[in-house]
Symmetry: C4
Subunit: 208 residues, 4 copies
């Protein structure tokens, strides 16, 4: 069994993932946020305003999946991130979600901005890399959900719940226009793998 992030203490694993993604340029400034499920009712998420390349295990807040209230801080000064509501939506929608990762890349942002104003999804390229999302088809036609960005993050979270509540997406990810992707998985390692896959696909799209 590979030495996956899943064998590590969850917050230590998120610190490692944060430093990894930061080093790739996927978490510029203090952007992005990373969470892992703590139990049926809550998850740990990176605190607001932390530079992801310098994170430590105190930089987390535990959040209630229902209601999205702060339950606990790893360290006294850690504050709840406004984007926690999107993570709440994901954990509410998908009982099997064990981790949720949100990053910003130039490619994802470019691709999202180039999509027509009325678009609510992007067609992913029909390439082998789709197997990393468990898409096994000869001529796959697969869509990534696209949501509009707004300053009021809970409104984005509502839109996600509404659309995915009505019809679960085939791809365990979503793109917010001008903003970046949010990806989830049953475990942190699976979510991490899928972020790489989604970013590969969007990087491919950005260049076609």
């Amino acid at each position: 069994m590979p030495d996956t992030f899943d064998v590590m203490e969850p917050r230590a694993a998120l610190v490692a993932v944060a430093r990894d993604f930061h080093a790739r340029g996927w978490m510029a400034g203090t952007s992005g946020n990373l969470s892992v499920r703590h139990d049926a009712d809550s998850f740990w998420i990176t605190a607001s305003g932390c530079p992801k390349g310098r994170l430590n295990e105190g930089d987390f807040v535990r959040v209630a999946i229902q209601g999205c209230a702060e339950l606990e801080r790893s360290a006294p000064q850690s504050r709840l991130s406004a984007e926690s509501s999107i993570h709440c939506a994901v954990y509410q929608l998908f009982a099997t979600a064990g981790a949720c990762l949100h990053v910003h890349t130039v490619d994802a942002t470019l691709v999202s901005q180039r999509a027509p104003a009325a678009a609510t999804c992007l067609t992913l390229p029909p390439i082998e890399m789709l197997k990393g999302l468990d898409i096994w088809e000869q001529h796959p036609q697969v869509e990534l959900a696209l949501f509009e960005n707004t300053l009021e993050v809970p409104r984005i979270a509502s839109a996600i719940q509404q659309r995915f509540g009505a019809q679960p997406p085939r791809v365990p990810a979503l793109l917010i226009r001008g903003h970046g992707v949010t990806v989830w998985g049953e475990t942190l390692q699976q979510a991490y793998n899928r972020v790489e896959v989604i970013e590969f696909l969007l990087s491919y799209l950005a260049r076609t």
Copy 2:
């Protein structure tokens, strides 16, 4: 003599190559697979579904070159990858092949998708880097074999065996459309060097 991967224990060396290629973005998600010949009849290959940046020496399966059957696992949970059949084809075709490496890059995928539908090869650019494939000519005209992708990997393996059995390729590599390159060499270090050379050439093509 450089501290090549060839002086290392073969599976430890593959772990190092996997982490190296993963760090470059060449093995996103759990994509790609890497093998080294064990003896005349078998090779060790990365197990199915492993994230290549977190691999360890248990994440391998030993496979019979003839018949492509699993012979041994480095650790109990390691499972045979479907793409082993392509490695089998390479070791069957080329008695001197000591290692075989398959990676996915955005550039290789782009170049393969841009090729005309009827193309069965790509012309590599006539640049100095071709010497890394032992091409020493003033005006080289060299082709990289291109195969169609399909869900049934053994069919790709058959196509490879058929074409290369009839006429061995000049370049020790092949490209599967929408998928990525497979490269081999007499040793792991040689195969590793050639992956770099092929990816350089395809990155060049992707930008022309």
Copy 3:
């Protein structure tokens, strides 16, 4: 609290930032310079002509904010950089500035050269990453100040003082044409975060 650069000894922190930025290709050759405020009247800045990937704590000069004179050297051979005058302008203009970072990237240079000859600013893209500069608006229209380059660096510094003295910029950064960005913040970590944000935005612009 994350393990920010702000908890380190200031020159040791600048060495770490220099190595980090150099590894990204943002400080090619001996380009760029980095400073932190020492007290109300002076700052430490990287010495002239140092390769930023090999810096050590002796490679600094302390400079008077008023008059821009050399006050002290970390090591005897460290010489004052000509670009110190731009840092002086920043510390004079902004009493809260605690650090000032100047780097060169291909993207920033490209974007600055593409701007019309008469342009005195660039419109930043209206994407989520702007929040990293504390821009919270639904449809942000934000400009990055653009200055002309000249061999006489003090003339650039004067132009900065004149324009920003009359009207402070909304974005804590400036771009010199064909040259690169200069970014400041209350602390070194904040300036570092903002460099990442500005470079993300310019990389986005370079590709649109």
Copy 4:
């Protein structure tokens, strides 16, 4: 004084530079070669066919500047590289050259191939980064010498000697078409810095 490569044992320093450049993708496969002057009459150069990311201090050959003959091997199996003749030309032409570095990048190759067939030089972009080559002018018009590639490396070396013997170049570097740059400096650190500067300039050109 920064911890430059110049304070290291010369071959140990070349090993460090080789690993650094390899990690950037500038020495794919076994491409490129790096040398430092040993004394007035000879230099140490990387041996033929070594992967630069796995080099050690045995992987060098000492070569006579006049006549380009092998004088000594760091380890018995190290063989003289065919490209040593270009390094000989540089050390013969420039008595102050202390190091000479040759790398292959996709950007440099692209730019060289795009140049008109009759071109014998490329105009470098008039950007601030030129100061890294000691070009201090308000509107610099600076050229990088371009040479044709050929299988017979000594013929390239002759062309270099002929042209630069007649008129020394302003920029301490040359580009071979379809091949890559060769850069020199008084010390290894200076040559290393200049490689970064030249590659920055060519990367800029590749994108305009």
